[in-house]
């Protein structure tokens, strides 16, 4: 019935466009919505990053632009740039290939344990890469799973990196695409089939175009994440494979060659902006108004051999790529020198190890606190930004959209060091404030909020808003009564993302000097940095706790949502 409208609604939208006076008011509303996000990004991203880049390029009273030629002319750097780009592209493609069937299964198929499993596949997202990398090394290395099964060692091949990237980013696709997929009205695809389309044709012509923007959003996030991959590359790539992120870290934190680091940072920016432009261009041509329904209505038990095989395949992939590596880590946390037991967990409660002045388990509280604050910041900033971006507009606003994505593609060490030198004097003297940690985390969470909210917000029919306005509802009331109910699911997904991202953020957090209240990932890294069975065992136990905290938080968030799943 509304299949046609779904495919292309742009004509209708143009015809029903705003009048001149309303347009002016709308621009003012948009500017008001954009103010806070712009301020946030100016103060906590643009300013710190500009400060560290300027420090690098402006030395001894003059600009060091000559360094561009030096760095860009270095064949080693060109090789790094090439490897960074292609491994990110390959990882993104592989992740989409592996996870899209998963997105469908989680969105449309009803199977026992679905909610739990959806939380579990998000767990890798918060795991420190050193910890997960070590699990992959064990599975793919000598005497590992693949070696003993089929006699193949993958630990020195690029496949190890790609598979680990799928492990980390599977949830990005499942949650971003699946979130929208669950709300797409299946009646449209059914209508197309009734009108004579084959199943594949109906999917290709109706469902795929509708999903396009969210697939693109997921692809963008996976690309940016793998583009700035650090720990996975270090552990599984060996010393001969390096990404821009690794180089920037080396030049900033070890070699202390800030001019080179600044040039590399700008190079990273250039590459990320190119990707953002490409993404904006593909999405602009695809987005359309969709008919959204209650997700509970669209899910059904698997029907027929095809769907059962699909579900089986999805579960097998999850088992191999996600559960197996997680299992390795959990098993290690119980594997004490005197047999399997809880010794490492018990040690988390004491300060005897000397690594911390507080018992390691207390870092759980630190992490939850920081993540809760970061989530609120990210939801506020990202929510306002998404609201401002709902209605398409000119280049300036599109540029704002891209700006919000930049932190995802920026080196954590750049942000961390930038915070340090930029936020150390009035009016922004946050030198050793605990607030720096959630602020840095929110910077990474906000892009997720925007990317999850935007496709759903844009899918809300403009005519619903206009109808409400014509009937006399204030903009606030329109938002509260028309948009909010339809996007509450997206809000919950966005909150889950922001929370998980904050919980797992390590790169920037570790560089932010703070009084002794380390987060879980920082505590794990500290424990891993010390020799001895007890330290390493505690690192594994704490990682397991981190997994549990993540899964439990996401389940709690989801249950908040499902209590009100009667939308529309």
């Amino acid at each position: 019935m509304s299949a046609l409208r779904t495919v292309d609604d742009r004509g209708a939208r143009k015809a029903g466009g705003p009048q001149a006076g309303a347009g002016g008011r709308r621009a003012a509303v948009r500017a008001a919505l954009m103010a806070l996000p712009l301020l946030f990004f100016a103060a906590f991203f643009a300013y710190p990053v500009a400060a560290i880049v300027t420090r690098g390029l402006h030395q001894g009273g003059s600009w060091q632009f000559g360094r561009f030629a030096d760095v860009l002319g270095d064949p080693g750097i060109r090789h790094v740039l090439w490897f960074t780009c292609w491994q990110a592209a390959a990882s993104t493609a592989l992740t989409l290939l592996v996870a899209l069937p998963g997105a469908y299964a989680f969105a449309r198929l009803d199977f026992p344990g679905r909610r739990l499993l959806r939380a579990v596949v998000t767990v890798p997202f918060v795991l420190p890469t050193v910890v997960a990398g070590s699990a992959f090394l064990a599975l793919l290395g000598p005497d590992g799973f693949t070696d003993s099964l089929v006699g193949v060692r993958l630990d020195t091949s690029v496949w190890a990196i790609l598979i680990a990237h799928v492990f980390f980013n599977y949830a990005v696709v499942v949650r971003t695409v699946g979130g929208l997929w669950a709300q797409l009205d299946p009646a449209q695809e059914e209508a197309a089939r009734m009108l004579g389309s084959s199943r594949l044709a109906a999917w290709r012509r109706v469902t795929l175009p509708a999903l396009g923007p969210s697939v693109a959003a997921a692809a963008l996030m996976v690309f940016l994440f793998t583009f700035t991959s650090f720990g996975v590359i270090q552990i599984l790539g060996g010393p001969t494979r390096s990404t821009l992120e690794v180089e920037i870290y080396r030049q900033t934190a070890e070699v202390f060659d800030l001019p080179t680091a600044a040039v590399l940072t700008l190079l990273q920016f250039a590459a990320v902006i190119a990707i953002l432009v490409l993404h904006g261009w593909t999405v602009r041509r695809r987005e359309s108004v969709l008919r959204l329904v209650d997700p509970a209505m669209t899910a059904h038990r698997p029907r027929g051999a095809g769907e059962r095989a699909l579900l089986g395949g999805v579960l097998a992939v999850i088992g191999l790529v996600i559960l197996l590596p997680l299992g390795v880590l959990v098993a290690r946390s119980f594997d004490t020198p005197s047999g399997y037991g809880l010794a490492f967990y018990r040690a988390l409660g004491s300060t005897d190890g000397g690594t911390f002045s507080v018992a390691p388990w207390q870092t759980v509280g630190n992490s939850l606190r920081f993540a809760a604050i970061a989530t609120v910041i990210a939801l506020t900033v990202g929510g306002l930004a998404a609201a401002a971006l709902v209605r398409r507009a000119g280049r300036l606003v599109r540029g704002f959209d891209a700006l919000l994505m930049l932190p995802l593609g920026t080196s954590a060490v750049t942000v961390g060091f930038g915070f340090l030198i930029a936020l150390d004097k009035p009016p922004l003297d946050l030198r050793d404030s605990w607030l720096l940690v959630p602020l840095a985390q929110a910077l990474v969470g906000t892009p997720f909020v925007v990317r999850v909210m935007l496709p759903v917000l844009r899918a809300v029919d403009e005519r619903l808003r206009e109808a409400a306005a014509v009937l006399g509802a204030s903009p606030w009331r329109v938002w509260r009564e028309v948009e909010m109910p339809m996007v509450s699911r997206a809000v919950a997904i966005a909150a889950g993302f922001a929370f998980a991202v904050s919980l797992g953020e390590f790169g920037a957090t570790v560089f932010i000097a703070r009084p002794d209240n380390p987060t879980l990932p920082v505590a794990v890294a500290r424990l891993l940095g010390r020799a001895g069975a007890l330290n390493h065992g505690q690192a594994m136990a704490l990682s397991t706790v981190l997994m549990g905290v993540c899964a439990a938080s996401l389940l709690a968030l989801e249950s908040l949502r499902t209590t009100g799943s009667g939308e529309l």
Partner: protein
């Protein structure tokens, strides 16, 4: 229906708001409890002294409490990143220092810190108790030596016993065919023990080009199958077969570049206490790292900073360090804990290089090493 969904959103908003309030309160109360111990010292008041350090810094609560009892100052510790990152951060923030004392610059980074004018001279009270050979800035006292540690090749005792093979003892041993494909080390550009091992070989074989100097040695090491990974964590926890973590991870390299203090670290917390540590030290492969503390230039609380540096050289702090940071005290009369005496290795003649030489040669050596070993 709409009502339920709105209620859900309301609940979500409420829950996050509540979490924030709780979180903010939690954060506040934590800060307050820290502040009040220094009798109302907030905003960098004179009763708090701030120590800036790297992520490996650790001290017992009771020891820091003793400092407060003796001097009235409360120590606040800021840590950020590894040793290299922490020094770089301190240099970047030297116009607005984040604290009063910096601890954790070692001899491989000392010149960088001193050339950037990071510290104000201060001669610590008990310096007479510290051997002259670790006082690398004896003329000006901009930094005070606090601890030392040796980066050495460690070996898996069980492997060498099982194979009836004597473990290597010197740099020269490592290129012998008997030890082919046994050693794992760290990338010198990303790991400080990796760099220290390179410096140790340079101190031993010299800087002559061709096959004579350290470059020739590394060519031999490479043809003898040395494996290079990016971090100590990966080398010791994943690739080394002698550590308990490496055993779990099925590491298959019985030789690793690590620390002389790794053997005692391996047995801490293990019951019953073993007769020997599973890890041994090749005592002729060591490079000495010395860590220093210094009063930061522009410190707000110089009196407190001086008191803290004095305290770090006191017997109390020096004897606490070994089990906290797995390093050796520099103070001559400090007594090491029994586990160090029983399982640790005493390195009589470690290699070393002057900090100025390290600063001058470091970049060239790192790129030469890259060309030889990684290409």
């Amino acid at each position: 229906m709409r009502n339920t969904s709105r209620r859900a959103v309301g609940a979500l908003v409420l829950a996050t708001a509540a979490a924030t309030v709780l979180a903010a309160c939690g954060g506040d109360s934590q800060d307050k409890s820290k502040g009040t111990t220094g009798s109302g010292a907030t905003g960098g008041g004179s009763r708090t002294v701030t120590l800036v350090s790297h992520d490996s810094f650790a001290a017992s609560k009771s020891v820091l409490a003793e400092f407060t009892k003796e001097t009235g100052y409360t120590v606040k510790v800021l840590r950020g990143g590894d040793a290299g990152a922490a020094v770089n951060q301190a240099i970047l923030t030297k116009d607005h220092p984040r604290g009063d004392v910096f601890f954790g610059v070692d001899n491989t980074l000392l010149s960088r810190a001193l050339d950037n004018g990071l510290f104000t001279p201060y001669k610590a009270k008990d310096l007479g108790q510290v051997p002259a050979d670790v006082q690398l800035d004896a003329a000006q006292h901009r930094v005070t030596p606090i601890d030392s540690g040796d980066v050495c090749v460690n070996y898996d005792r069980a492997y060498f016993t099982g194979h009836h093979l004597a473990p290597p003892q010197t740099f020269a041993d490592l290129v012998k065919p008997a030890y082919k494909n046994l050693l794992v080390t760290e990338n010198v550009s990303t790991s400080s023990p990796g760099l220290a091992f390179l410096l140790g070989s340079a101190a031993t074989f010299g800087d002559a080009g061709g096959s004579g100097g350290w470059q020739g040695y590394w060519k031999q090491l490479k043809s003898n199958g040395v494996e290079v990974v990016d971090s100590w964590e990966q080398a010791y926890n994943d690739r080394f077969s002698g550590s308990s973590a490496g055993k779990q991870a099925k590491g298959d390299r019985p030789l690793v570049v690590s620390y002389a203090s790794s053997p005692p670290a391996e047995v801490v917390g293990v019951t019953p206490e073993p007769a020997q540590s599973p890890v041994g030290v090749a005592t002729g492969t060591c490079f000495r790292q010395i860590e220093f503390a210094g009063l930061l230039h522009g410190a707000k609380n110089t009196a407190g900073g001086r008191a803290l540096i004095d305290f770090m050289l006191s017997k109390t702090f020096q004897q606490d360090m070994p089990l906290q940071m797995y390093v050796d005290p520099v103070r001559k009369d400090a007594v090491e804990p029994p586990v160090f005496v029983k399982y640790g290795a005493k390195i009589a003649h470690p290699t070393t290089l002057p900090p100025e030489k390290i600063a001058a040669k470091r970049d060239d050596w790192v790129s030469a090493w890259n060309a030889i070993v990684l290409k």
